[in-house]
C-alpha cells in the first residue's frame, strides 16, 4: 500500500525520522524508499571516515547539508595511536567543494584538520553555519581566522578539547562587524591570548548568543563586562576566574551574574580563586550541568559548599578531590542527577583525596535517575558494584577506571567479575561499558550473556584466555566497537568468527597475543575489512615471521578497500 503514496508524502514522513539509524533502516525496505530517503537525507553521519569515500557519500546523498565524521580510534585519546596515523578531513572538504554540496554544518571528532582544510571550508561553503571540532588537531588560529572572516552566517563555532597551535594572530578580530548571527562560541581549549576588546564587541552585537565558553586568557574583569552584554546566556564557560573578592570588579561581577537568570550550564574555572566562587551561587539553583573537572584548585570544602546550591543538576563533571564525603553531598543534594564523571586529580602525595567505592555507592543510592557514569577511583569492591547495580538499573553508560588497572577487590582479594556481572545483568539497557580492576574470563562470560544492548566495550589488562574475547564476540549481538589492550586474547579468539567484524564498526587490539599470521589470515578471508597493523618501532616488516606478535592492530569494515593515506608505519594487510 505504501507504494501508492507519492514520493513527497514519503519524504514528509521520513522528515520525522531524527536518527540516522532509523533512516538507514527505512532505506532498506524497498527500492523506492531507498530512493526517496537518499534524496531527502540532509544529515549524514559517518562513524569511521575510512569506511566509505567522500565521493560515494555525496553520490548517494546529494542533498547533504550536515556531515559528521569520526576519524581516529578511541584509544588515540590516550596516546596509543601514533599522531600521524591518519583521519584527514581535507579529502572530504575537497570532494564536497568539487561537487557543489551546500554544506551548512560540519562536525568532526578525532580528525586531523589543517589550516588549509579550514581555509577551503570557509571559501567553498557560503552557507556554512556550524563548525564543531572535538579532539581534533593539526590546525592553528590562522585557520580559525579564515572561518571567522568568511563564514557570514556562522551560528556555531564549537572547539572542544582540540590541539590548536596559537599563532598570536587576531582571529577573534576577524569576525566582521556584520557578524551578528552567533549562537554558540566555544574557544575554551585555545591556549593563547585573545583580543579582549574584540571579544566584548563581538558579544555585544550577537544578541542571539546562547553559549559562550572562554579560554583561560580571558580574565575575570572581562568576564564581568561580557556578562553585562549577554544576560541571555544559557551556557557559560568562564575563563580565568581569579580576582580580589573585595574589589569593585568582583562586586560588579556579582550583580552581572545575578542578571543571568537563563544560565543552565556552567564550566571553565581552570584558574580559580575559591573566594570568588560565591558570586555564582545565585545561578547554581538553576544549573542542570556543571563541569568543574578542570578546577583543580578548588578545595574539597568549597566544592561541597558549591554543590549544596545545585539541587537541579542533571550532569556533573568533577575531580576526585571531592572525595567520598563530597560525593555523599552530591547524592543528597542532586536528586535529578543523570550523568556523573569523576576524573583523577593527580595528587602529588598531598593526602589521598581519591574516591573509592563508597562514593559510588552513595551516588547510586541517592540519585535514582543516574544513567551514565565515568568513575576514576582508587579501589572498587564487588559488594559495592552489586549494590550499585541494584540501585541503578538504568545505566546506559558505565565506565569504571581503577587507578591501578589490575587491582582486585581489596576486601575479599577477588577479581571484580561478580561486580561487573551484576552491572550487566541488572542494567538491561547498557550500551557502553569500560572495565578495570582484576578480571578473569568470567566477567566476559557475564557480559556475553547479559549485555544484550552493548555497543561499545573497553577492556584493559583483563581476562585469562581466548575464551574471554569469544564470550563477548558470541554473545553481544549489538556490539559495534571493541577495544582491547594488554589482555591475553589471541588468534583463536580473533579468527573464530570472522564474519562478526562486518557487523561491527571496528576492533582495536594492542599488546595482546595476536600474531601477524593470524592478522594476515583474517585480512585474506575478509576483503571488506581493513586490517591495519601499526608498527612504530620498526618491529615488523614484510620479512617478519608470521608467528610474531602484533603490538597494535586496528581493523574496521570498509567499502573502499585499503586507504591510500596510511603512513609507512601502518601496514594494511
Amino acid at each position: 500500500m505504501m507504494n501508492y503514496f507519492p514520493d513527497e508524502v514519503l519524504e514528509h514522513v521520513f522528515d520525522f525520522l531524527e536518527s540516522h539509524r532509523d533512516r538507514n533502516a527505512v532505506s532498506l525496505v524497498c527500492q523506492s524508499w531507498y530512493r526517496v530517503e537518499r534524496f531527502s537525507r540532509e544529515k549524514v553521519f559517518i562513524g569511521n571516515c575510512y569506511a566509505i569515500s567522500p565521493e560515494r557519500v555525496i553520490a548517494r546523498f546529494p542533498r547533504v547539508r550536515s556531515l559528521t565524521l569520526k576519524g581516529k580510534p578511541h584509544f588515540a585519546d590516550f596516546n596509543l595511536v601514533p599522531s600521524d596515523w591518519g583521519g584527514f578531513v581535507l579529502p572530504w572538504i575537497e570532494a564536497m567543494a568539487r561537487s557543489g554540496v551546500n554544506l551548512e554544518e560540519l562536525r568532526l571528532k578525532r580528525m586531523v584538520v589543517s589550516d588549509e582544510s579550514l581555509e577551503l571550508l570557509a571559501r567553498s561553503f557560503p552557507n556554512l553555519r556550524s563548525l564543531v571540532l572535538v579532539s581534533c588537531e593539526g590546525f592553528t588560529t590562522d585557520g580559525l581566522a579564515a572561518i571567522a572572516s568568511n563564514c557570514r552566517f556562522l551560528t556555531e563555532l564549537d572547539l572542544q578539547e582540540n590541539e590548536v597551535e596559537d599563532r598570536r594572530g587576531q582571529w577573534l578580530s576577524c569576525f566582521p562587524d556584520s557578524c551578528t548571527s552567533l549562537v554558540s562560541l566555544n574557544f575554551a581549549c585555545l591556549k593563547g591570548e585573545v583580543n579582549l576588546a574584540a571579544l566584548e564587541r563581538l558579544v555585544a552585537r550577537n544578541h542571539n548568543l546562547r553559549s559562550l565558553r572562554l579560554n583561560h586568557a580571558v580574565p575575570l574583569d572581562a568576564l564581568q563586562k561580557i556578562l553585562m552584554q549577554a544576560p541571555q546566556l544559557v551556557d557559560l564557560g568562564t575563563g580565568s576566574y581569579v580576582h580580589d573578592p573585595d574589589s569593585d570588579t568582583y562586586n560588579k561581577l556579582k550583580s552581572a551574574v545575578q542578571k543571568c537568570t537563563s544560565i543552565r550550564s556552567l564550566s571553565g574555572f581552570l584558574d580559580v580563586a575559591p573566594r570568588c566562587l560565591p558570586a555564582i551561587y545565585p545561578i547554581c539553583l538553576n544549573l542542570t550541568s556543571l563541569n568543574l573537572s578542570y578546577a583543580s584548585l578548588i578545595h574539597n570544602s568549597e566544592l561541597i559548599k558549591l554543590i549544596h546550591h545545585c539541587s537541579q543538576l542533571q550532569r556533573l563533571w568533577i575531580l576526585d578531590c571531592i572525595g567520598d564525603k563530597g560525593l555523599g553531598v552530591v547524592a543528597s543534594t542532586c536528586k535529578e542527577l543523570q550523568e556523573l564523571r569523576v576524573f583523577p586529580s593527580d595528587i602529588h602525595g598531598v593526602g589521598s583525596a581519591a574516591v573509592t567505592e563508597e562514593g559510588l555507592v552513595a551516588i547510586s543510592a541517592g540519585c535514582p535517575k543516574l544513567n551514565s557514569i565515568l568513575y576514576f577511583c582508587q579501589q572498587m569492591t564487588n559488594a559495592a558494584l552489586i549494590t550499585v547495580a541494584k540501585n541503578c538499573p538504568n545505566f546506559i553508560r558505565f565506565r569504571l577506571c581503577t587507578l591501578n588497572p589490575t587491582i582486585p577487590d581489596p576486601v575479599t582479594m577477588q577479581p571484580l567479575d561478580e561486580g561487573f556481572g551484576a552491572i550487566v545483568q541488572s542494567c538491561k539497557g547498557l550500551k557502553r561499558l569500560s572495565l578495570s580492576g582484576l578480571l578473569t574470563d568470567q566477567v566476559f562470560l557475564y557480559i556475553g550473556m547479559y549485555a544484550e544492548q552493548l555497543e561499545m566495550l573497553s577492556v584493559a589488562f583483563a581476562g585469562d584466555s581466548d575464551k574471554g574475547m569469544l564470550y563477548v564476540l558470541n554473545g553481544c549481538k549489538k556490539l559495534k566497537k571493541l577495544e582491547i589492550r594488554d589482555s591475553p586474547f589471541g588468534n583463536v579468539a580473533l579468527l573464530a568468527d570472522v564474519g562478526k567484524y562486518e557487523t561491527m564498526r571496528s576492533l582495536w587490539m594492542s599488546s595482546c597475543e595476536v600474531t601477524l599470521g593470524a592478522c594476515k589470515t583474517l585480512a585474506k578471508k575478509m576483503p571488506r575489512l581493513n586490517v591495519e597493523v601499526i608498527n612504530e618501532n620498526d618491529l615488523i616488516d614484510a620479512s617478519s615471521d608470521d608467528r610474531q606478535k602484533v603490538e597494535k592492530m586496528y581493523l574496521y569494515r570498509t567499502l573502499v578497500g585499503p586507504r591510500e593515506d596510511a603512513p609507512e608505519f601502518v601496514w594494511t594487510l
Binding site: F78, D84, P91, E165, D271, D346, A460, F461
Partner: protein, 326 residues
C-alpha cells in the same frame, strides 16, 4: 632501589611465557575445549570443567559470591538473580582473615597513590617501577594472579585520560602548558618512547662514519656510564671495520680496535648526543637519567670536532603543521 628494577624486568618475560603456556595447555585439550568455547545460555554446569581445570592455578575454589547471601534480599522473587547466582556457582560467603584486608588496603592505597603520582610524572619511570612492586605482592588471591598483567612499571595511557587533564592538578595555569607550545601540534608531546613499548625501550643509535645503525634498549642501563660503555662495545668493532676498509689495509682486528671513550664529557674523539621528543638535538648527560629515558627518541655518536659546526637545536627540521597528505 636498584635491586628492584631487574626483578621486575625478569617478571615481564616470565609473564608472557606463562600466558602462552596456558594457551597451549588449553589447545591441547582439543575438541572438547572448542565446544566449551561456545556461549551457552543454560546453567553453566559445563563451565565447571573450565574452572576445575584452572583450579590448580587460580584457586577458584576460594572465590565466593558476595551476593549469594545478604545482598539480594529479594532472592526468592527475582528469578534473574537466581540464575545469575547459579551461573556464579558460588557457595557460602567466606570471610577473609582480617589481617589481609588491613594490610592490603594500606598497600592498595600506596600503590594507587604511586599510580597517581606516576601518572602525573611519567618521567620518574625508574622510581615508579619500585613503587608499583607492592601491588603484585598484594594480590594474594593466588600466585598466578600476581603474575598476570599487573602492569609493572609506568603504564602507557593509564589511567585513560587525555593529555591535557594530566597537566591540570595543582598547577595554577595562567601560562600555557609546555606541551601546548609544541611547534608541531599534531605530535602529542606526551607520546614518548617510554609510552610505546613498556617491555623495553629500544632506540636507534647511529655513529658518524658507520653506515649501519644499531638499536639499544635503554631500559637495560641505569646510568649514563653504563650506556656509554655499551655504546663503546657496540661500535668499537664496526668502527674498526670501517677504518680497515677505508684504509684498504688488512690489519689485526685487535690492534685496530680502539676503545671509544669520553663520550659524555667531550674529552673523546666522539660525543654522544640524542634527539628528544621535541625534535631537538641535545647533549647526553645534562638531565637525570630517568628524565633522559623518557624524552629520548634516538641517539647519535658524533665526532666531537664536528659539534661546533652543527646546529644542535635545530627546529627547522620539524615536520610542517597539519600532516595532510596532499
Amino acid at each position: 632501589m636498584e635491586g628492584y628494577s631487574p626483578r621486575l624486568l625478569d617478571l615481564i618475560p616470565k609473564e608472557r611465557e606463562w600466558l602462552v603456556q596456558r594457551d597451549e595447555e588449553e589447545r591441547k585439550h582439543g575438541a572438547s575445549e572448542e565446544k566449551k568455547l561456545e556461549l551457552r545460555l543454560g546453567p553453566p554446569g559445563q563451565e565447571e570443567d573450565w574452572t576445575r581445570k584452572n583450579n590448580s592455578t587460580r584457586k577458584i575454589n576460594d572465590e565466593r559470591s558476595l551476593f549469594s547471601l545478604g545482598y539480594f534480599p529479594n532472592v526468592g522473587q527475582n528469578t534473574n538473580t537466581n540464575t545469575f547466582m547459579i551461573q556464579a556457582q558460588k557457595a557460602q560467603f567466606q570471610l577473609q582473615p582480617t589481617t589481609t584486608p588491613q594490610g592490603l588496603s594500606v598497600m592498595g592505597k600506596e600503590s594507587s597513590q604511586s599510580c597517581s603520582t606516576k601518572v602525573a610524572d611519567l618521567q620518574n619511570a625508574a622510581e615508579k617501577k619500585m613503587a608499583f612492586s607492592p601491588a603484585p605482592a598484594a594480590n594474594t588471591a593466588g600466585p598466578n594472579s600476581s603474575q598476570k598483567r599487573t602492569a609493572p612499571g609506568p603504564v602507557v595511557g593509564w589511567p585513560p585520560i587525555r593529555s591535557f587533564r594530566k597537566n591540570l592538578a595543582g598547577t595554577s595555569s595562567s601560562k600555557p602548558q609546555p606541551e601546548s607550545q609544541s611547534v608541531v601540534p599534531n605530535k602529542v608531546s606526551s607520546e614518548n618512547p617510554v609510552d610505546s613499548c613498556p617491555k623495553g625501550l629500544f632506540v636507534k643509535i647511529n655513529m658518524d662514519g658507520v653506515p649501519i645503525g644499531r638499536k639499544v634498549d635503554l631500559k637495560a642501563y641505569e646510568s649514563y656510564d653504563k650506556l656509554a660503555s655499551a655504546v663503546d662495545e657496540l661500535f668499537r668493532g664496526l668502527l674498526a671495520a670501517q677504518m680497515d676498509s677505508s684504509a684498504g689495509r688488512i690489519q689485526n682486528k685487535q690492534e685496530s680496535e680502539k676503545a671509544i671513550t669520553g663520550l659524555l664529557d667531550g674529552s673523546g674523539e666522539y660525543t654522544l648526543v640524542y634527539e628528544d621528543n621535541e625534535g631537538d638535538r641535545m647533549l647526553v648527560g645534562d638531565v637525570p637519567w630517568h628524565m633522559f629515558v623518557s624524552t629520548v627518541k634516538r641517539l647519535r655518536v658524533l665526532k666531537s670536532s664536528e659539534l661546533s659546526t652543527l646546529r644542535l637545536n635545530s627546529k627547522q627540521e620539524k615536520v610542517p603543521l597539519g600532516a595532510d597528505m596532499r
